[in-house]
């Protein structure tokens, strides 16, 4: 593969991973404190709308960003009120927030701008423009320079400020969660709130702090989508990214650095799917990969109990069978026949991987122990 193509795909990866990463970390803070948040999607959408609308009205993207964060934090506060103070079901509250945001954004946008649930396009100044590093060259001249310059100009330079903010959020989250007293308490509230309460720390206060942080991060993600990637709000423009971020959160086992890895990996799959759509692979390599998967499964279930052996062994046999089928069908035309891997498969890879992690293949994904349970003080 051409080095420049790889760089371009990675560049796209970074852009696509940024909103995922912010939302994934948002979910991480919330869930680590024991508040499950299905409403991430709704918060991104609300923040996207408010940031675009306010940025257009005021002409300043910074005011827009603040307003977007404000809207997202407000939804977070509603979620907090329902699930912390009123001890309601966190899943239901989250779903309600998604519905609220999906409907309200379009209705308010229609009443405000009369353009049918979208905001007018932002002019420069109302948008986060790409930041070009000193010495970076425009992409049109990219093919004529060396790999280091390509790496610098295409991959590192030319992103909007929020991309760098998102990347910085990862070490910051790690530091806050693992190196500060606040972080220790926050994690403890998600594992064993009674113990935290016994120590004289307010469980309610900690959990509210967590959902507010979650709101701020979702707000940045929404503003990034509407004012950096795009130049206006359009209906349902978050397009399920809140849910993909939840999948990434499980894939990352609720850890900040893993979250970075998971979001970059998911972003990479999306970038590949955007760039290549249907991928052609020679039959022998495709068949080889499938066979390896089958052997891996066989090795994994070797020492497991009977049920695992039956279920996963069956899965392995199925994969091996497909592999043999591919060889058989390609036999007459030679083993280097190109076989098309459908774009749909690449698109579904993030979800398949999440299921794989949930099934316990790659270590165990254990959610915070008190996640989803409202804390009731013993009387």
């Amino acid at each position: 593969m051409d080095f420049l193509i790889l760089i371009q795909v990675l560049d796209s990866t970074l852009r696509l991973a940024t909103p995922l990463l912010l939302v994934c970390l948002a979910g991480l803070f919330s869930e680590r404190a024991g508040i499950f948040d299905i409403g991430l999607e709704g918060k991104i959408l609300a923040a996207a709308f408010v940031s675009a609308a306010v940025a257009y009205t005021t002409g300043s993207v910074w005011v827009g960003l603040l307003a977007g964060i404000g809207a997202s934090v407000m939804l977070s506060a509603i979620h907090g009120l329902a699930s912390i103070t009123l001890k309601g079901d966190q899943i239901i509250s989250g779903v309600a927030i998604n519905f609220l945001a999906a409907g309200l954004t379009v209705v308010v946008a229609q009443a405000w701008f009369g353009q049918g649930g979208r905001t007018p396009p932002l002019q420069s100044g109302g948008r986060f423009e790409p930041i070009n590093f000193p010495g970076a060259i425009p992409s049109k001249e990219m093919a004529d320079v060396g790999p280091v310059m390509q790496l610098y100009s295409e991959l590192l330079s030319g992103h909007s400020l929020l991309v760098y903010v998102a990347l910085l959020t990862v070490p910051l989250s790690w530091f806050v969660l693992y190196q500060t007293r606040f972080g220790l308490r926050l994690r403890a509230v998600g594992e064993n709130p009674a113990a935290v309460d016994t120590a004289g720390i307010s469980v309610v206060g900690m959990r509210y702090a967590a959902v507010i942080i979650c709101g701020v991060l979702c707000g940045i993600a929404g503003a990034y989508i509407a004012t950096a990637l795009q130049a206006s709000f359009t209906k349902d423009m978050s397009a399920g990214r809140g849910f993909i971020a939840l999948a990434a959160l499980i894939f990352a086992k609720w850890r900040p650095w893993y979250a970075l890895g998971a979001c970059l990996l998911f972003g990479f799959f999306f970038a590949i799917d955007n760039r290549f759509q249907n991928i052609l692979l020679p039959a022998w390599s495709l068949s080889g990969v499938l066979l390896l998967t089958a052997f891996g499964l066989a090795g994994y279930v070797w020492r497991k109990d009977l049920l695992d052996k039956i279920v996963l062994g069956g899965l392995g046999l199925g994969v091996a069978f497909v592999s043999v089928l591919i060889v058989a069908s390609a036999w007459s035309a030679g083993l280097s026949t190109q076989i098309k891997i459908p774009v749909v498969f690449i698109q579904s890879l993030p979800y398949i991987l999440t299921v794989v992690v949930l099934a316990g293949f790659v270590g165990k994904a254990i959610p915070p122990r008190s996640g989803g349970v409202p804390y009731v003080k013993e009387k």
Binding site: L16, Q110, P121, L229, Q230, T234, M237, N274
Partner: protein, 327 residues
Amino acid sequence: MSFMKSILGGAAALALGAGAALADPAIIFDLGGKFDKSFNEAAFTGAQRWADETGGSFREIELQNEAQREQALRRFAEAGSNPIVMAGFAFADALGKVAPDYPDTKFAVIDVNWLSMPNVRGIGFNEHEGSYLVGMMAAQASESGVVGFVGGMDIPLIRRFGCGYAQGVKAVNPNATVIANMTGTTPAAWNDPVKGSELTKAQISQGADVVFAAAGGTGVGVLQTAADEGILSIGVDSNQNYLHSGKVLTSMLKRVDIAVYEAFTAGNNLETGNFMGAVGFAMDEHNASLVTADMQAKVEAAEAAIAGGSLSVHNYTDDETCPAVSF
């Protein structure tokens, strides 16, 4: 008593008759929403034009999910709306079920021309021909010889756009490369401008300098990115030239507005059967500087040739193959 009865009966008949005569037409928009600046908006424009000209009023609904299709249809039919116009191919199944239950109501459905029912008017469009015209335009405006196509949901209808476009491109420049991408395989593909942007950037990095978006709301992202990156884009369904004045080469027009307007105007006398609507390309003050007289003349000549039957554009949905591009 009998006198009273006949008066009452007469009044009732009059009331019923008045109800039937005053039945408002109704329109159901598809999931993209009526202000998608594209397909649904074109339908809305037609309905609004009818309302402005006649002073009449019409009922409307924007679907929020698939389950509402049949429900919305039945509700309008029960309420006596006539005719009921549906914007979108996805109504075919629901309409097939509902239409026989309301034989006195006329239905018109856009993008569906394969139903044959006594009370249904199907309006299809030769999208491949309109796309062929803008494809010619794209190939003439392209300097790199590489042009792009971004489709919405991967369905045969959108492939028909892509295939016609590619044929138009190859007709002008047989050596041109057409990069064809689809946004997704679910209805969410109509509302994902971020992915539209990324697809466009990927196409630009492969050398494309004109991109045709046939992707509903996703197309907003395509046109935005094309304008940001300094290449040309082509809009779809409605005239989208004004979205980025001087940066949108042209728009492929499906005169959905005319189809809806005609259906509303015909009212209860709507002629049923399957018809073809008009297609074309948009010229206005926003793209005047981009299209030379020579380019326009060439495309108009092709338009006339298609209308006259001397030029035929291959239709993807006829045999699910495309001679000019692979999806």
